[in-house]
Subunit: 209 residues, 4 copies
DNA sequence: ACGGACGGGACGTCCCGTTTGT
DNA sequence: ACAAACGGGACGTCCCGTCCGT
C-alpha cells in the first residue's frame, strides 16, 4: 500500500490565494529527504541534513512529521481521501464497487501522472530499508481499517467489508506496481480497473475440495 | 566481490592443545549477527544483541571486529588467500592465467559447498543495507588491489595487471551470483571457469571505430 | 525596586467609546501569570498556560509583553510616572525633595492600597526565581537612570542627581518591604516618608577619618 | 529530608586500591553542578555546562544521573544505608529506637562534619527551585517508605512502623535544619538526639477532647 | 576473555520568542 | 485579537566504538 508523489498536502480551502509559505515547507522537506535517501541511504541521512537542504531547521521538520520515517508517508491524507470516497459512493453500489470507486478517486486525487516519478522513487527507497518497510506495512493496515470501517458504515456486514477491503488492497498493490513501472503508459485508474478484473476472475476459479 | 561462508577464520596453526576456551567466538558472533540481520534488519540490530545471542559481550565483539559492519566481512583472510595463490601460480602463466588460478583456489578454500548457504544469506543482507553495500565496495577495491600488486610482483606491466584483475573480478562476480542461486548445482570453481570463458569471448568482439 | 499591584496599565486617554473589546487583556494575563507562578513556580509555567487561563492566546501574550518575565514588570508605566513626577516638582525643591515628591506620587498612583496584596505576591514570586531577580535588578537600574536624568534636566549636577537617586532608591526599597508586610497598616507614602528620614539621619552620622 | 555532603558514593569494597577513575566522575559532576547552580541558578544551568566544568560529556552525566535534578540526590545510597541500619538494630529495640539508631548511623556515615558545608549549600539550592523541591519531597516519601518497610520486617505492626517513621522523619528534618546552621557546632547525631527528645516530649502533651 | 567508563552524535520532545497574515 | 509557521536550544534516550581495567 503506497501512495502519493509530490507532497500531496490536504488542499486547504482558503477563500482566495492559498497561504504563501505554508505548502512550501513540507513539500521541500519531502523533496530534500527523498533526494538524500537516494544519495546516501535512509539511515545515513540525518534529520538535520534534510532540514538544511530544505532551507529549514530540525524543529520545523518535526513540526510537520512525527518522525524521520513519516516524511515519506503523507500523514492522514490518503486515509481521509479514502474515507470520503467510500462514503460518497452511490448507496446502491456493492461494497466492492464502492471500494473500486474509491480507488478510482485515488487515481484522480493522489496518484496523478505528475506524481508518478516521485512515487516510483519513494517505493525504491522504502524497499531498501527495513525500518521503512515496517512503517509501510503499518500504514497499509491502517488504511485497510479505514476502508473497512467506511464500508461497514454503508451497511456492509463484517465479512463483506473485510473481503472487499482485501480485494481492493490487492488490486491497489498490483496496480501501483505496474503504474510505477517506467515502460507502462497507462494511468493509475486504468491499472486499478485491470487489476480488479484479474483479481475477481481469479476468485471465480477458487475451489475447496 | 563477496566471500566466505561460515566464518572462515584464518586457520591458526597451533601445534597442539588448540582451543582452550572455545576458539569459535568469532564464528558464533558471525552466525548470531547474520541471524539477527535477517530477522530485524541490519540497522535495527545492535551490537549488544549480537553479542548476547552469541553468549558473549560487546567488548568481545569489538575485539574481533573493527566495527559492526566488519562482522560480515572476514578480515584479511581472502586477501591473504588471493595474494598467496597468485604468487604461487607457475611463473610461466600469463597474468590472466594466474588470476584464474587464484579464483580456483578460492573455490577450494573459501567458497566451498558448505559455505554456499551462508554466502547466499550474507549477500541478501548486504544488498539490503546501503551501509553494508558501501563496505562491500571498499573491500572489493582492496581485493582488486591485492591481486594487481601480486601480479605486478610476478613481472606483469601495470596495464596487464590491471586488466587481468578487472576481468577476474568480473568473472568472480558473475560466478558468485550463479553459485548462490539455489537452482544451480555446480561448484564455485566451475562457475568461475565458465564465467571467465564468457568474459574472454566477449573481449574478442570488442571493436573501436 | 518593585512596583504596581493590579496591572496598572497606562491610562489610555480615549475620548469616548473606550474599551471596545475587553480592554483588560493585559490585566487578565498578569493575574493568570501570578496565580500560576505561585501554584507551580515560574519555570514550570508555560506561556501557553498563562494565555489559556486568561482566555487568550500565546500570540496575544507576546503582543503585550516582550517575554515571559515581563508579565511581572509593568512596562514603562513606572518610568513615565517617575519622570513626570520629578519634572513636575516645584522648581525650588532640591533634588532630594523632588525625588521624595516623586515617591509620594508613586504611593498615590501606583502603590495604592488595593495593589498591596498583589505587590506582595509578586515580590515573593520574584524572590523565588533567579531569572526574575535578574530582570528586577535591571529594571531597578533603568528606573534609577530615569530619575537621575529627570533630576539633571532640572539643573542638578551629576553628583547631586546620582546621590539623590540612590537615597530615594534605598528609601523606596525599605518602604516597599515594610508596606507589603501584612502586619503593617500604613500606606506606602507614610513608609516612604519614614524611610527617607531614617536614611537621611543615617547619613549625618557618616564620618571619614 | 535531605542528605549527603560530598558525593557519598557507595563504597565499592574492592580488594585493594579502589578503581582509578570510577569514583571520580560522579563526584566531580556533583561538585560542578552545585557550583553552577549557586552561580546561575538551577534553571539557567545546562547539563552540558555541568559536564564541561567537570571535564566530562553530557553522555557521562546521564550515565550517572537519571536526569538533571538527580545530581543533587544521591541515588539510593541513603536508602540502602537506612535499610541496613534499621535491620541491624538490636532486635530488642522498639521501632522508634531502631529508627533513632538508623538516624545515628546516618550521622556517622552520611552527615559527617566534612559534608556539612556541602549539605548546607545543597539545601539552599533546593529551596530556590520548585522543581528541586518537588524531587526532594518525592525522595523523602521514598525514604520514609524504606524505613517503614524495614521496621515491618522487624515485626512492627503497620501503625507502629508508620508512626515511628513519621517521628523519625520529623526529627531528621529538625536536626538537619539545625546542623547546617553555621552558628551551631554540634554534630548531626547530637542534633538528632535533641530533636527526638523534643518531638517525644511534644507527643506527651497531646490531648484529645 | 570479560566488564565497564567514556566520548560522540542522532533522534524526538518541549518550550520560548519572532514573524507573517487574517 | 487570533492563527500558524519558524528558529533556536535544552532535555533525555539510545547506540556505536574506544580505551582502560581485571
Amino acid at each position: 500500500l503506497s501512495y502519493h508523489g509530490t507532497p500531496l498536502r490536504d488542499k486547504v480551502p482558503y477563500s482566495h490565494a492559498v497561504a504563501r509559505w505554508q505548502p512550501d515547507a513540507p513539500a521541500r522537506l519531502v523533496q530534500a529527504a527523498l533526494d538524500l535517501f537516494e544519495e546516501q541511504g535512509y539511515d545515513q541521512t540525518t534529520v538535520v541534513q534534510i532540514a538544511q537542504r530544505a532551507g529549514l531547521t530540525k524543529s520545523t521538520f518535526f513540526r510537520h512529521f512525527r518522525d524521520k520515517r513519516e516524511v515519506l508517508f503523507g500523514g492522514d491524507t490518503l486515509a481521509h481521501l479514502l474515507d470520503r470516497a467510500v462514503s460518497a459512493a452511490p448507496s446502491a453500489e456493492t461494497p466492492l464497487e464502492a471500494g473500486a470507486h474509491a480507488l478510482r478517486v485515488l487515481g484522480q486525487e493522489a496518484f496523478t501522472p505528475d506524481r508518478r516519478a516521485f512515487t516510483a522513487r519513494r517505493a525504491a527507497v522504502i524497499a531498501g530499508s527495513p525500518e521503512l518497510r515496517e512503517r509501510e506495512a503499518l500504514k497499509g493496515l491502517s488504511l485497510s481499517g479505514t476502508i473497512t470501517d467506511a464500508l461497514r458504515r454503508r451497511g456492509a456486514s463484517a465479512v463483506e467489508a473485510e473481503l472487499a477491503t482485501q480485494l481492493c488492497a490487492l488490486a491497489w498493490k498490483i496496480a501501483l506496481g505496474r503504474w510505477i513501472e517506467p515502460t507502462n503508459r497507462a494511468g493509475f485508474g486504468e491499472h486499478v480497473a485491470t487489476a480488479l478484473r484479474e483479481v475477481l476472475s481469479a476468485t471465480t476459479s477458487l475451489r475447496l475440495r
